[in-house]
């Protein structure tokens, strides 16, 4: 029976070590030997080298998060951004509600009204980030490239509402110049011009 047990073949071998000193003198001699030969620094050699590189040669491998952040892909899908028109600064959203319709977790809602200039005004716009799965459909369906995903991935907050309202997501008017187009799904393709059939104009 015992032969059928699959017991591994144990190829243990003894390494040759100096006999452990037993006398107090003997122990003292070993400590002295190890210290003076600086075996510790042999082990720390790589560490010191990298430390030197990081501190003095600018080859740091970590970032000082939250003081520093790594750049992320422009197509990263984090908290939404509402874009403005570059010329007028007016928000791009026309309140068509397509994002609301396509949202698969049903987390977008908007209130619109007929304003004094006979236009559709977006009175309020919210995304329930408790439910949002950041699928990107809203950005893809938006006909005005008004809603896009941004790079703001830190979604811890005292209240979820903190970044779910229209004004929170809207590009601040003073940062209009820094507003960048989103190159992800829903953006204009690089060869868009080639695909357009021109409509004749009578002007």
């Amino acid at each position: 029976m015992s032969e059928k047990k699959r017991v591994g073949v144990q190829n243990y071998r003894f390494i040759e070590l100096e006999p452990t000193p037993t006398t107090a003198w003997g122990k003292f001699k070993r400590v002295l030997k190890r210290s003076v030969k600086l075996e510790l620094f042999v082990g720390l050699k790589v560490t010191f080298r990298e430390m030197f590189k990081a501190l003095f040669m600018g080859e740091m491998h970590t970032v000082k998060y939250p003081l520093e952040k790594l750049p992320i892909s422009p197509r990263y899908r984090a908290i939404h951004e509402m874009k403005r028109l570059l010329e007028s600064g007016h928000y791009r959203c026309i309140g068509c509600g397509l994002c609301e319709k396509i949202c698969i977790s049903d987390c977008i809602r908007m209130d619109t009204r007929y304003d004094e200039n006979q236009r559709k005004e977006v009175v309020e716009y919210t995304i329930n980030f408790g439910r949002c799965i950041f699928c990107g459909y809203c950005a893809e369906v938006c006909p005005e490239l008004a809603i896009t995903h941004g790079g703001r991935y830190e979604t811890a907050s005292e209240q979820r509402a903190s970044f779910s309202l229209f004004e929170d997501m809207l590009t601040p008017i003073d940062k209009l110049k820094e507003q960048k187009e989103y190159p992800g799904f829903g953006a204009i393709s690089p060869n868009a011009d080639e695909n357009i059939k021109k409509t004749p104009l009578a002007y």
């Binding site: 026309i94 309140g95 068509c96 509600g97 397509l98 609301e100 319709k101 809602r109 908007m110 209130d111 619109t112 009204r113 007929y114 006979q118 236009r119 559709k120 005004e121 309020e124 919210t126 006909p143 005005e144 059939k197 409509t199 004749p200 104009l201 009578a202 002007y203």
Partner: protein, 819 residues
Amino acid sequence: MSKEITITIDGIECKAKEGEYILNIARANGIFIPAICYLTRCSPTLACRLCLVEADGKRVYACNAKAKDGMNIVTQTEEILEERRAIMEVYDVNHPLQCGVCDQHGECELQNYTLEMEVDEQHYAIADTKRETKNWSSVLHYDAGLCIVCERCVTVCKDMIGDSALKTGPRGGDKLDKSYKETMPKDAYAMWNKLQKSIIVPSNGTEYTNCSDCGECTAVCPVGALTERDFIYKANPWELREVPSACAHCSSACHLYYETRFTSIDDPSEKIFRIKNEFHYQSLCGAGRFGYDYENRNVKKDPNALKRAVEAIKKAKTIRFNSMITNEEALMLQTLKEKFGIKLVNKEVKPFQNFLKVYGKAKGQMLYSNSFKDMSSSDFIVSVGAKLRNDNPAARYLFNNIQKINKGAGFYFHPVGDTLVPTFGKSVSVFNHKVGDEEYVMLLLLDLFADKEKLPSEIKEKLASFKEKRVKKVKEKVMKEVVEKVVDKESGEEKEVKKKVPSFEEKEVEYEANLLVEKLGGDVENFNEEFEKALKKKEDFALIVGEDFYFHPKAANLAKLVALFEETTDFKVAFIPPKSNALGVALICDLDENEEGFVVGYNEPGDFKISALGDGDFDIPAMNQQEGTTTNMNKRVVPLNAALDYEGYELNDIMNELGLGKNLTIDWTEALPVEKGYQVAKFDDLPNYFANDMSEHRGYVLANMPVDKEEVIIEEFSESKLEGQIAYRCNPQRQFNDFTDKAHQIFEPFALYVSPEKAKELGEFVKVEFENGEGLELPVEVDERLSGDIVEVPDFKAEMDVYSLFGKNRYAQVKITKV
């Protein structure tokens, strides 16, 4: 009548009636022919030209081409497809590319057909014209920039509604480039040419429509050009949940969809955003379309209120209610009467119930013979005792539709002058008779239409007494021969030429004068000729009987006369039940005349008030918050669905406390009285839709149960004793009850409605005193379409108890003093 034919459309054999339009036959058989401008039940306008088909190799428009036996129709050929594509391209020229914000976005026919015709390229262009957005009335909004001038609004307003408040006006656009004429498909060019010249404007020449604000034009608009002002940019059509139901306001109980959605970001509760209807099959009125938000809001279950309500019912001697009630609730009230002997008082319905009883005994059946739906094929319609414009929009639309589409004629008998009815058609004769002469109206109708041999002798004698030989002067056209001298220009010769010149000579002619016509305010001299002309080619006759007949001192006699009229003519006869579910209440409840003791009011004032208006001691759901059925004027039992949530108690809960209840309110639907013509049908099994062939699948039709027939003895006629200032109990056009009044888009106030002439006399605020000494202080409102001296007092507010002021008559003698 018309014979059955068979035609072939795209290889499919279709059975149809001769003379039907090809488009309607195709639709009935599920074959798709595109069309934007055509509305079923209205006349073809030929504005869009999309319905182009080939019939036996010839190009025709399916909307106005009548089918002939054995016709072979092809709906798609290469040429036709090219034509249709060009038409859609033209429609897209200069159409704003702002679909995203448009209210029609998602249910837009322009979007749909542009995709259907695979338009992905534009070949045509023209400079755009500035077209202003306008508010036509308190409810209508017109964005001319989006308008494709299909003229559906114009057509429906003229052919169905009868207001004819819209027309096409000049657009001021550029002329089309002439080169298009050669290069474009023919029909597309013709359509564009017309489109480029026109735009829709109010027909009265002003900026504002003077109409009944029914909003049907907004319903039929295929694009977002015409919308309800309240709905603009509030919600997108595809976010809305469609709840098929029926309108609760008048006895027509029209099919409609409540469209609901969460109220806003802050308020997740459901709210009705608008009403939609199947405009190809049934048109709505202003009350139906705009009077939807009358729900009983924020009601929670209050056990104490329930306890008090049960106590009140136990104590009650009388339950006072009106017609805003479902069949099921009416049946519950009837059960209470049977168990506890509580009197049921319904002032709106009691006279109607009495009228039906007398009519039934005379006719041998419980209900009037026909439905208003049957009458849509009629070509001669008579309305008696109904203030057509105010009483029932469906009856008015029918009257108008018959004039416009069936090339019909009509008689309108009513004491109150109305300037709209005569505009329905050239062959409409209006008789503004004296109040109380309704019996003579029936007598005249018997004289004109009845088979004289079947009439009882006393009627015959009476008729003979109204005949007289008279002489009238007639201008006659006589051709006279005149000799003229003419100088020939070339030869200079003078010639005598004989010519025939018409001249008019006065001549005296003897004719048989019908004194009844004179008595009823008709033109007795020319009546005979006009009547003969009106009757030409007419074969399908209809009679509408209205509320004046039920609320009449001689109502019983009138009921017998109507029954006699039906017996002796081939008229289709239908009654207008006075209010919402009046017919249902009349059939289900055994009503009492007078109230006594402790009164429980059901949407009515009382010692204890059960109310869906939110102002009572016990809350019940309003008609848009509960399931149930209502019995409409077409004798149909139609289902109502709950559009909004309701969390409070219902009448059924009181019934349960009393040990009489059922599990759910809709369990009462099966228990509706079979002996009155109802069916044992489960609520959930009732259908509620129209099919493509225009057939109505809504609930079921009541059986017209036989009644023991009694001999008809017509009583002596009487003359009205009303003198001086007369008031008429009549609501403004969009008000029917407290619920329409609660709706935020219905603005007509509780006021004295008078004609413009009368308003000058009365000033702004008056006191109306009735014969019994009671009075009402009312502001004066001008109804532009009213004429004459009679003033109208509305009854839509239950608390004003206008029914008691008028008693069992719709007319009352009043004294009006300025305040």
